[in-house]
C-alpha cells in the first residue's frame, strides 16, 4: 500500500517535472525571437507614434499636438508623394493583370513554362540598386533607348529628367522588375486548380476567354486578392532603392514617395519628428491595405 503510494507520488513528480521542463523549453525557444521582434519592431512603432506629436529643433521633445501633421499637409513635396501613391493605385491593376494573363497562358497554352518562369522571375532577385543602375544607363538622355527612338524618328524623351515622365518611368521599371513575383504566385495558385473543372469546360466547348472568366477567375479569387495586396505593399515599401538611384526624388521632388520623404526628412533634413509623422501616414496606408489581407487570412482559415 505504502509502496503503491510512493510509486504514484513519483509518477506525478515525474509528470510535473516533465511539464515544467516542457514549459521552460518553450520559454527558451520563443523568448529570444520575441525580444527582438518586440524590441526592434513594436516598441519603435509606439515610440514613432509618440515622436510624431513632438517638435523638431528648438522644440525637440516638446509636445506639439498635430503640428507635424499640419506641416505635412502644407508641404508641397509631401503632397506630391501622396499624389504619386495615387498613381501607384492606378498602376496596380496593370501590375496584377499582366502577370495574371501571362500565368494563364503559361498554364493553358504555351509549352516550356519552366523556362519562361525562370526568365520572368530573374529581375525579382536583383537589388533595386542594380536594376536602377542598369536603367540609369538605358534611360539617360543620351542613352541607348533615346538613340533607338531617334532612329525611328521619335524625338528624345527625357525619361528621368522630365517631372511628368520621371515618376512613370520609375513605376514602369518597378513593374518590369517585380511582375515575375506575381507571376510565380499565380502559377502556384494554378497548380492547385481542379483539373476536372477545366476538362469539363473543354467538353462543354468553352472558348479560352470563357474558361478564364467562368472557371479560372472564380477558382483563383483568393490567389488574385493575395497578389493585389502583396503587389500594393511592394509598391509602397519596395521602391526606395529605385528612386534613390534613378532620380534621387527629382526632378523638383516629382518622384517622391512617402518612404523616400521619410528618409530624406530624417537623414538629410534632420527633422525626425516630422519624419515620424510621415511614417504614421504611411503606416495607416499600409494598415488599410493590410486590413484587406487580414480579412483574407481569416476567410482562408475558415475555409480550411
Amino acid at each position: 500500500m505504502a509502496q503503491a503510494a510512493t510509486a504514484q507520488r513519483s509518477t506525478t513528480a515525474v509528470r510535473r517535472w516533465h511539464l515544467s521542463e516542457h514549459k521552460i523549453a518553450a520559454l527558451v525557444l520563443v523568448t529570444p525571437a520575441l525580444l527582438i521582434i518586440v524590441g526592434l519592431r513594436i516598441v519603435p512603432l509606439v515610440l514613432g507614434a509618440q515622436y510624431s506629436l513632438t517638435g523638431d529643433g528648438d522644440r525637440n521633445g516638446l509636445f506639439v499636438g498635430l503640428a507635424n501633421y499640419r506641416t505635412l499637409l502644407d508641404d508641397p513635396v509631401f503632397r506630391t508623394a501622396v499624389r504619386n501613391v495615387g498613381l501607384l493605385f492606378l498602376a496596380l491593376p496593370v501590375a496584377v493583370a499582366v502577370p495574371g494573363l501571362l500565368a494563364t497562358f503559361l498554364f493553358l497554352k504555351v509549352p516550356g513554362h519552366r523556362f519562361y518562369r525562370s526568365v520572368y522571375f530573374f529581375p525579382v532577385v536583383l537589388s533595386p540598386v542594380i536594376i536602377g543602375a542598369i536603367f540609369n544607363i538605358l534611360l539617360s538622355f543620351d542613352g541607348p533607348l533615346n538613340q533607338l527612338l531617334g532612329k525611328a524618328g521619335i524625338g528624345p524623351v527625357d525619361w528621368l529628367g522630365n517631372s511628368h515622365i520621371a515618376i512613370l518611368s520609375v513605376i514602369g521599371v518597378h513593374i518590369w522588375a517585380t511582375f515575375g513575383m506575381a507571376l510565380v504566385i499565380f502559377m502556384a495558385g494554378f497548380s492547385t486548380l481542379d483539373q476536372s473543372l477545366l476538362d469539363a469546360a473543354r467538353c462543354d466547348g468553352a472558348t479560352l476567354p470563357q474558361t478564364v472568366w467562368h472557371v479560372v477567375i472564380p477558382e483563383l479569387s483568393r490567389t488574385i486578392q493575395f497578389v493585389f495586396v502583396t503587389t500594393m505593399i511592394g509598391m509602397l515599401t519596395g521602391m526606395f532603392g529605385l528612386i534613390y538611384v534613378m532620380t534621387a526624388g527629382g526632378p523638383g521632388g516629382a518622384t517622391y514617395l512617402p518612404e523616400f520623404y521619410i528618409w530624406v526628412t530624417q537623414s538629410q533634413m534632420n527633422s525626425p519628428a516630422l519624419a515620424s509623422a510621415a511614417s504614421m501616414v504611411l503606416f495607416v496606408l499600409m494598415l488599410l491595405v493590410g486590413l484587406a489581407q487580414i480579412r483574407l487570412i481569416k476567410r482562408a482559415t475558415k475555409e480550411v
Binding site: V30, A33, R41, K109, S127, P128, A133, A275, L282
Partner: protein, 275 residues
C-alpha cells in the same frame, strides 16, 4: 486545353518578346562593361570588340568595392545565421509545443509582418544610437534580424506544423528532452525549409539599401549595394566602368539564382498557398 497551330503562336511570340525584354537589359549591361569608353560613346549597341574584364577589374580596384563586399558578406552571413537559429527555434515552439499564450504570441509575430522598416526608421535609428550600435556590423545584423524574423518564423512554423506528432512522440519515448527534439529532429528535418528561407533572407540582406544606408554611416562600413549607388557619381562620365561595377555587385546574386531557383520560388510562394 493545349491548342496547336496558329492560336498557340499568337501567344508564344509575345511571350518570347517579353522574355527578351526581361533579359536584354542585363545582356546590354554586360556588353557595355566589355567596351572601352570610346567604343560606347561612338555606338551604344555594337558588340564589344573583344571580351575583356578590364572595366570590371578597374571598377573593383579603384572604388573600394572589395571592402564593401567584405562588409556585405559579414553582415549577410551573420544575419542569416541568427535568423535561421531564432526562426527555427520559435517555429518549432509555435508549431509543436503547447504553452500558455502560444496563439497570442504567434499573432504578435504575424502582426510585426505588417510594420515595414520605413515606418519605424526614425525611432529605430535613435534606439540603435542609444545602445551604441550605429555604424557597426552588429547593429546592421540586428536590424536585418528584426526586419526579416517575422517572415522567417511564419515560414518555419508552417513547415514544422506539417511534421507528424508521432515522430516527436517517438523521440520523447526514447528519452529526448524538448530541446533534444529540436536538435535531433527539428533541425535535420527542417533542412529544406531552412535552405529556402536562408537563401531568401540572404538575398534580402544582400540587396537591401535603405537599412544599410541608415545604419552604416562611415564610408569604410558601407555595404556593397550602397557602394554601387556611390559609383554612379564617381563614374558618371565613364559608363562602361560604371557597368563593370554594377556587374560585380550583381554576380553573386545571379549565381545564387542559377543554383537555387527552385528554393527561391518555393519560399516566396509558401505564404501564398496557405492564404
Amino acid at each position: 486545353m493545349r491548342e496547336r497551330g496558329f492560336g498557340r503562336w499568337v501567344v508564344a511570340i509575345p511571350m518570347c518578346l517579353l522574355a527578351l525584354a526581361t533579359i536584354y537589359p542585363m545582356v546590354f549591361t554586360l556588353n557595355v562593361a566589355m567596351k572601352s569608353r570610346r567604343e560606347y560613346v561612338l555606338d551604344r549597341f555594337s558588340l564589344a570588340d573583344h571580351l575583356t574584364a578590364a572595366n570590371i577589374a578597374d571598377a573593383w580596384n579603384s572604388s573600394g568595392l572589395g571592402r564593401y563586399t567584405f562588409n556585405s558578406v559579414v553582415v549577410t552571413a551573420g544575419s542569416v545565421a541568427l535568423l535561421l537559429l531564432l526562426g527555427s527555434m520559435a517555429g518549432y515552439a509555435f508549431s509543436q509545443l503547447t504553452f500558455r499564450g502560444r496563439r497570442w504570441l504567434f499573432l504578435v509575430c504575424l502582426g510585426a509582418l505588417m510594420i515595414p522598416f520605413q515606418v519605424i526608421m526614425v525611432p529605430f535609428f535613435r534606439v540603435l544610437g542609444q545602445i551604441h550600435l550605429l555604424d557597426t556590423h552588429v547593429g546592421l545584423i540586428l536590424a536585418y534580424t528584426g526586419q526579416f524574423l517575422p517572415f522567417t518564423i511564419f515560414l518555419m512554423t508552417s513547415f514544422y506544423s506539417r511534421i507528424p506528432a508521432e515522430i516527436v512522440e517517438a523521440a520523447r519515448v526514447d528519452g529526448s528532452t524538448t530541446l533534444g527534439v529540436y536538435r535531433r529532429i527539428m533541425l535535420p528535418l527542417g533542412r529544406p525549409a531552412l535552405l529556402s528561407v536562408g537563401i531568401l533572407n540572404a538575398l534580402f540582406c544582400w540587396n537591401d539599401v535603405l537599412i544599410s544606408l541608415l545604419v552604416m554611416q562611415s564610408e569604410q562600413h558601407r555595404t556593397l549595394m550602397v557602394g554601387v549607388t556611390a559609383l554612379r557619381g564617381q563614374y558618371s562620365d565613364n559608363i562602361p566602368l560604371f557597368a563593370g561595377g554594377v556587374l560585380v555587385a550583381a554576380l553573386p546574386v545571379i549565381a545564387i539564382y542559377l543554383f537555387f531557383q527552385r528554393q527561391i520560388t518555393d519560399g516566396v510562394t509558401a505564404g501564398s498557398t496557405k492564404g
